[in-house]
Symmetry: C2
Subunit: 265 residues, 2 copies
């Protein structure tokens, strides 16, 4: 059965809208994703929203009924509302016709199987949700096992990060850890830790990558702390041929991730 | 002499704030850049703002006086205001301590010297200002000659694009053209047109790139129209190892740009 929601002040609208705020996401342990494409990606990976919101006047899509059925079977809510109210919930001027609220699912480091993939992306104090989402998307494209977020990173379940991931939030494992915790976990098994470095380092096309390769990307303004770089097995650098001295963090991650995969297969 | 601006309703505040809007940028032929780093990048490339806005209470920087002098010598205005008012102008919660308004400087295609660089980035109907700015930044890093924007692209002089370029708006040539105009220009000289393609194409690590290489990236949702791809000398594709069927446009541009530069030097 579909609930109808017609007012901006409906408690459900407030509850979902609050998920745009990190504090409320933490409290509820839930996050928002929008767009049929993302929600179907989630469904195909076994993620069903506890609340599905449909805008009236949306185009017909053959898989919409499948999504709705899955929500109902899992005991979730299906809500129909106006495009205006959906826009209010997602905070986007041109909202998608559908959105869903999900339980968050970060994994502890201990639950990662490092041999499940030859490549893992690791971000240190990444601050931009677009960069984080883009790294998830690149991780999916390069067959990475997932994204490990070290220290004070932006929330991977923010609306912007989920949006930029284009569905990869559902396909990539996401783990959060402190640096020491990560380093201990890594060194209690095999794995090569590779830093994207601005300092003197091996040219990225000539570096001896080895699987499982953990590719470590630093903060957007500060890069990696020196002691973190020093703890890596390999520091690689990309030529900078212009006036700029750095690349966008998600760009550096992608160029290196594609290089690693081209070299270690 | 520094003008003091203390009120939100000051006409200068309104004039500069209006530059966040495309219509007003077009009308004034000017754009906004923020942050000392960007402004110094501009200065080093010969771009001096006609109006320089400084927030009170900013940290001392040895090159600030140099920037201020350059503005005064060029007959521009230097304005001191509060951090709040600067935030109102740039629309950023944590504004930089300095911003400048510049004359726009897109170049006509005919003014580009295609042999000035082995690589040029070309974007077709690119919609996201962050992607555009990031492509400029990547163009700088890979020694591209500039960015050619085809068709209905987002404004390269938007605040978001300028911000994401991290100063490369000042170092990279930017040209706007229709597809036919660009194609005519390109074919009246030498140059290889390479499409980043999702369709059947040559593996990007095995493609025979040649300078000057024009790397063409499509719209974020639709990619390139088939007839545009068909007009290219080469269509290259990157392996997609996950569930996603595409990369972020700026990411695809960067992986290919680095590949081209590694191969044609």
């Amino acid at each position: 059965m579909r609930h109808q929601v017609t007012g901006f002040s409906n408690p459900l609208v407030k509850e979902l809208r609050a998920l745009r705020d990190k504090k409320h996401r933490r409290r509820q342990g839930r996050f928002l994703a929008e767009g049929l494409r993302l929600l179907l990606e989630g469904l195909d990976c076994g993620h069903v929203p506890d609340t599905l919101v449909l805008a009236s006047g949306r185009d017909h899509h053959p898989r919409m009924a499948e999504l709705e059925d899955a929500v109902v079977r899992a005991g979730g809510r299906v809500v129909e509302t106006s495009p205006d109210i959906l826009a209010r919930i997602t905070g986007k001027d041109n909202p998608q016709a559908v959105a869903g609220a999900y339980r968050e699912f970060p994994r502890p480091l201990a639950a990662l199987d490092r041999d499940a993939a030859p490549l893992w992306l690791v971000a240190h104090e990444l601050r931009d949700p677009g960069n984080l989402g883009t790294m998830l998307r690149t991780g999916d494209a390069t067959g990475a096992g997932g994204l490990i977020l070290i220290g004070d990173c932006v929330d991977p379940f923010s609306v912007e990060a989920v949006r930029a991931s284009m569905g990869a939030i559902f396909t990539q494992a996401v783990a959060l850890a402190g640096w020491t915790e990560f380093h201990d976990w890594l060194r209690h098994g095999h794995g090569q830790l590779v830093a994207a470095s601005l300092r003197e380092a091996v040219h990225y096309r000539e570096a001896p990558y080895a699987a499982p390769c953990f590719l470590l990307i630093g903060n957007e303004s500060r890069g990696l702390p020196q002691e973190v770089e020093a703890a890596c097995d390999l520091r690689v650098t990309m030529p900078m041929r212009g006036r700029a001295d750095s690349l966008n963090a998600a760009i550096a991650a992608a160029v290196l991730a594609y290089e690693v995969r081209a070299r270690i297969g």
